[in-house]
């Protein structure tokens, strides 16, 4: 039966790493991934409580993560310096959240969660895949493609829980993630993104969907 412990240990490790250094980009990324995995876990358990708390933690790490993604590109010194300044402000906010009693309480409240039933996960996964396959998404609308990516991510986490193959899902998620990065860059530094770059990213995301979506059937 899938237990929460491995994913919760992932959250604890990420919390500890960000408490030591909120400037650690990998730890901030891990923190966001851990909160998303646990959110999927709670959805599979049909639980409502603690999901808002995980969202709060994830949003606390959001600005720092966004700036890490943008700053990973080569920038002129003036832009890089402005990004670093914004990152410092974001990591102060993050340090407050991860160091708060609420962050400790989230882990304490999740720890005694009973394991999921494998059959429950299988049934929910089948429904999630069916919905993902059936929904119509306008491949030219960034928000719609992004919403698909979020649903895909939940499918992947549910599949991981019961040991289903996820290689194709990870590739598809990466391809859709490239679009998110361009979109993020456009929101952070609008002058740096041409309309053509966004169009290309949308086309690549659509091509990846066409290529990998049939692999979803393997999960049912």
């Amino acid at each position: 039966m899938p237990h929460i412990a491995p994913w919760l240990d992932g959250l604890c490790a990420a919390l500890n790493a960000t408490r030591v250094d909120a400037g650690d980009a990998a730890a901030v990324h891990d923190l966001r991934v851990a909160t998303r995995r646990l959110d999927t876990w709670l959805r599979l358990a049909d639980r409502r409580t603690l999901r808002d708390d995980l969202r709060w933690l994830r949003h606390a790490a959001g600005p720092a993560r966004d700036l890490d993604v943008v700053a990973a590109r080569p920038w002129p010194p003036a832009v890089a310096s402005a990004l670093a300044e914004r990152r410092m402000a974001a990591q102060r906010e993050l340090a407050r959240a991860v160091g708060s009693p609420r962050a400790v309480a989230i882990v304490a409240a999740l720890r005694p969660s009973p394991p999921l039933h494998r059959r429950t996960v299988e049934a929910v996964l089948t429904r999630m895949v069916a919905r993902l396959r059936a929904e119509r998404v306008d491949p030219g609308v960034v928000d719609a493609v992004h919403a698909r990516r979020r649903r895909l991510r939940r499918v992947r986490y549910a599949a991981e829980l019961i040991g289903r193959p996820t290689t194709a899902l990870v590739r598809l998620q990466d391809a859709l993630g490239a679009l998110s990065d361009v979109n993020l860059l456009q929101r952070t530094l609008p002058a740096e993104v041409t309309p053509d770059a966004l169009r290309r990213a949308l086309a690549d995301a659509d091509a990846a969907w066409t290529r990998y979506a049939p692999c979803l059937e393997d999960l049912r």
Partner: protein, 159 residues
């Protein structure tokens, strides 16, 4: 604002094996609701919703029995939930700042819930044996002496 204060529903005793391995405190924090406590509180939650309460903030302690009780209240929830470690400790005035909204529900433990009511109403002891799954409804401003008791509801009200 309306403040609904629930004591967690009836819970099983701590698992002695867990107490031996993880310690008494961890074992106490991990106590689940009993089937009867769950059944009875589910009826309470349904009646709370039928009375027209729409909870826009649901706060609960991190103890498993409080989390599970709060989960049963979510059909009446129209806002957000938050785990609140302050509810697993004696109340402070700072904690009252968390009670923001038109209708806030909290799920906690005795004797701290009773102390919270005394702080908010400015009254002496309620003379109330607050049974598990029971509810006290307050109305007013969430500040010391700013609220009054509207109702004291036993857990079997919803029978």
């Amino acid at each position: 604002m309306t403040l609904l204060l629930f004591r967690h529903a009836a819970a099983a005793p701590a698992d002695p094996d867990e107490a031996a391995t993880a310690g008494a405190q961890a074992a106490d924090a991990a106590r689940p609701l009993t089937a009867r406590g769950r059944r009875r509180f589910r009826r309470m939650a349904r009646r709370v919703a039928r009375q027209g309460y729409r909870i826009d903030r649901l706060l609960h302690s991190p103890m498993r029995r409080a989390v599970e009780t709060a989960e049963l209240l979510t059909p009446a929830l129209e806002g957000t939930t938050a785990v609140c470690p302050e509810l697993a400790a004696p109340p402070t005035e700072a904690m009252l700042a968390l009670f923001q909204g038109d209708c806030v529900a909290i799920v906690g433990h005795e004797p701290w819930l009773g102390e919270t009511v005394r702080m908010l109403t400015g009254a002496g002891a309620l003379g109330l044996r607050w049974r598990k799954g029971g509810l006290v409804v307050l109305d007013g401003q969430p500040e010391p002496g700013g609220m009054r008791v509207v109702a004291v509801v036993p857990p079997d009200w919803a029978r």
